[in-house]
């Protein structure tokens, strides 16, 4: 139990562990002290001078981000003196600021805009011409609008303290100081620099990819989980017009804190892919026929009766619920092998300042989940090959969410029943008796299990095209029809069914997982190397 200190902030008594700063103590009672340079993940240089608060007995205003609390201290964050300090500091910030909110990508989520609107002066008093820096390309995905910068140095500190690759610095002094890169090197070749765009409190650092794409207030934020690797970083999908426009990290101190890698940040285009399967199709005697789900599943069940042993290809990109439902169906049809293929990178890409976070070698989000339901990994590190045993199988072949991109048209030619469940068409599915459209993880609810065996939920961010449905819904209905039991009606049902059939998932509920994730009983601890 740490030693507690009791102080008064704006008339509220608050007890916090010794060594807490005033800013953090105020945050714990819901009082936000405006600030730029302070970020919970980095050191505090106390240079933005915006978090100055009035402390009774202190000779001058104290910076809340570095002043630690003392017993019996009386702090005012909203007193006349504190407000006057902030109004003055904000006026200085606007001396050289171009006020170009209408063309600034940060507009709508900008801390300068918010603070000035809340507490700043209504009109500027400056008469001098503003100094002009213009725009600079920092390399990587980052553009720098020097005039908008408030010189908080968060970006510099991120690169030196968190990524630990000194790529940015402050050059010049005083009024002319500006953030710059070393030589022409820029940010190219760093793997976490997208985070500086997130932590820049104003629109000085913007993403080239997102430039002018959408306004902050038009985007819908949906909590999700990154599918880039087995780390399972918590993210928000920002969508508009049923398209993912960008990916932002979602704070979860147990997994990724405030950061995500650039690989995950820019790996969302596949969710926007247009040429999707939209209706269940049955092929018989060379003719394809689109049909309603009910008809397709009834025809499938009729054909599956006595069709022989099953071989299934699963995917480490499918959710726990999808994999569990596939497992139940395979068991209900008499049992059989489930294999999956997944891409692997040669090296981890660690974030040096946060040892438990790295872009992992396993480039799929749910290989752990696939292993836990009893699937085995086959094939090479680029997710090809390994399917010879399935390709010529003469019983039932079920393919879930693997696009068979390396397979020829003769894949599954001997199968007595070949079911292809995917998001888009594939040459490998030429012989499929049933082609069933499924939704992506962004189009439905579900969960992934990351490499430390943490189950994490994602929510529905977009609408699925046409008649595409989540795989757990389809497989769950088929499994219930063949093996008995209830068909799952929601992802929570499907997760509960998974807990009943796979012991590793027993004992945690959908609510336990919540927005922060929950560790399975036999969790493994992971650190970066």
């Amino acid at each position: 139990m740490p030693e507690m200190v009791t102080l008064t902030i704006d008339g509220h008594e608050v007890s916090v562990p010794k060594g807490t700063t005033i800013l953090e103590a105020a945050k714990s009672i819901g009082t936000e002290v405006p600030h730029y340079c302070y970020h919970p993940g980095m050191s505090s240089p106390a240079m933005c001078r915006l978090c100055l608060v009035e402390v009774e007995g202190a000779p001058k205003p104290m910076p809340g981000c570095v002043t630690t609390v003392m017993d019996g201290q009386v702090v005012h964050t909203q007193s006349e003196q504190a407000l006057k300090n902030r109004r003055g500091v904000l006026e200085f910030y606007l001396v050289n600021h171009p006020l170009d909110c209408p063309i600034c990508d940060m507009s709508g989520e900008c801390n300068l805009q918010d603070y000035v609107h809340a507490e700043g002066r209504e009109h500027g008093r400056g008469r001098e011409p503003k100094r002009i820096f213009g725009r600079d390309d920092f390399g990587g995905d980052v553009l720098f609008y020097g005039d908008r910068c408030v010189m908080c140095t968060r970006c510099v500190r991120f690169m030196s303290e968190v990524e630990q690759d000194h790529r940015l610095t402050v050059v010049e002094r005083g009024n002319r100081s500006v953030i710059d890169t070393f030589y022409e090197e820029g940010l190219d070749g760093t793997y976490w620099h997208g985070n500086i765009v997130d932590i820049c409190p104003v629109g000085a650092l913007v993403s080239k990819e997102f430039l002018h794409k959408a306004r902050a207030w038009d985007l819908t934020h949906t909590p999700s989980v990154c599918t880039g690797c087995a780390q399972g970083c918590n993210i928000d999908l920002h969508t508009r017009d049923n398209l993912v426009q960008r990916v932002k990290p979602r704070e979860n101190l147990d997994v990724n804190a405030w950061w995500i890698c650039d690989y995950g940040r820019h790996g969302y285009e596949w969710m926007n892919r247009g040429d999707r399967l939209e209706a269940p199709v049955m092929r018989s005697a060379g003719a394809s026929q689109a049909m309603a789900w009910g008809d397709a599943l009834r025809a499938l069940l009729a054909k599956a009766d006595g069709a022989g042993p099953v071989k299934a290809i699963a995917s480490a990109k499918s959710s726990n619920e999808d994999l569990g439902a596939l497992k139940r169906l395979v068991d209900a049809l008499g049992g059989g092998d489930i294999v999956y293929r997944s891409a692997r990178a040669d090296d981890e890409v660690p974030l040096k300042g946060f040892p438990t976070l790295a872009r992992r070698t396993d480039l799929t989000p749910n290989a752990t989940g696939a292993d836990l339901v009893g699937a085995s990994r086959v094939g090479d590190d680029d997710a090809t090959g390994g399917l010879d045993a399935v390709s010529g199988h003469d019983g039932i072949v079920i393919v879930l969410n693997d696009d068979l991109s390396d397979q020829g048209e003769d894949f599954g030619a001997n199968a007595s029943l070949f079911v292809y469940m995917g998001t888009h068409a594939s040459a490998g599915a030429t012989h499929a008796d049933f082609v069933l459209p499924i939704s992506t993880h962004a189009e439905g609810e579900g969960s992934f299990t990351n490499l430390e065996r943490r189950v994490q939920r994602f929510a529905k961010a977009m609408d699925a095209p046409g008649m595409a449905r989540p795989a757990w819904l389809v497989l769950g209905a088929l499994a219930a029809e063949t093996g008995g039991g209830d068909a799952p009606r929601s992802a929570a049902d499907a997760f509960a069914a998974l807990g009943r059939s796979v012991s590793a998932f027993a004992g945690i509920t959908w609510e336990d997982v919540g927005t922060r994730g929950a560790l399975l009983n036999e969790s493994v601890s992971v650190t970066g190397d």
């Binding site: 909110c101 209408p102 063309i103 507009s107 725009r135 430039l211 002018h212 794409k213 306004r215 207030w217 038009d218």
Partner: protein
Amino acid sequence: MAISVKVMHRPEPETTSYLRAALSGMALTFKHMVNPTKVTQQYPEEMTHLSPRWRGTHVMEQHADGRPKCVACGLCPTVCPANCIRLVGGEDDQGNRYPIVYEIDEFRCIFCGMCQEVCPVEAIHVGRHFENAEYTRERFVYDLDRLMEQDHPSTLLWDPSDPSSE
């Protein structure tokens, strides 16, 4: 069930002569005929007077070099209560933010003028104009070129000499 017949009692003809109404109508016509103040306007030879605050179909202001003044800030599509403005922003070859697509569906527009009021660069304006006849419905979705071609005067949302309408 017996069928009952409802008998309508109409007023007697002697109390309801249509002649009286016809005569009073003719009297009014005659009064107007001899009245020296004419109220009929000879439109289209003679144009109607429109208030400076009349709000009609839109005009997009442009720079001297023909670029639209709009900077694709997204405020007018946000404020528009009829949700009839479609905007896709982008960057031109000089690095300026500009609207790649800017369309207003004039059929859905309710001519509230809020787009003009909100525009930070005074680009989009409602116009003092009402002659909008077209042969097809599609022509009522005005794209950026069409909006810049409009040559009618734009609206004054308030009287400059009395901005707070007192």
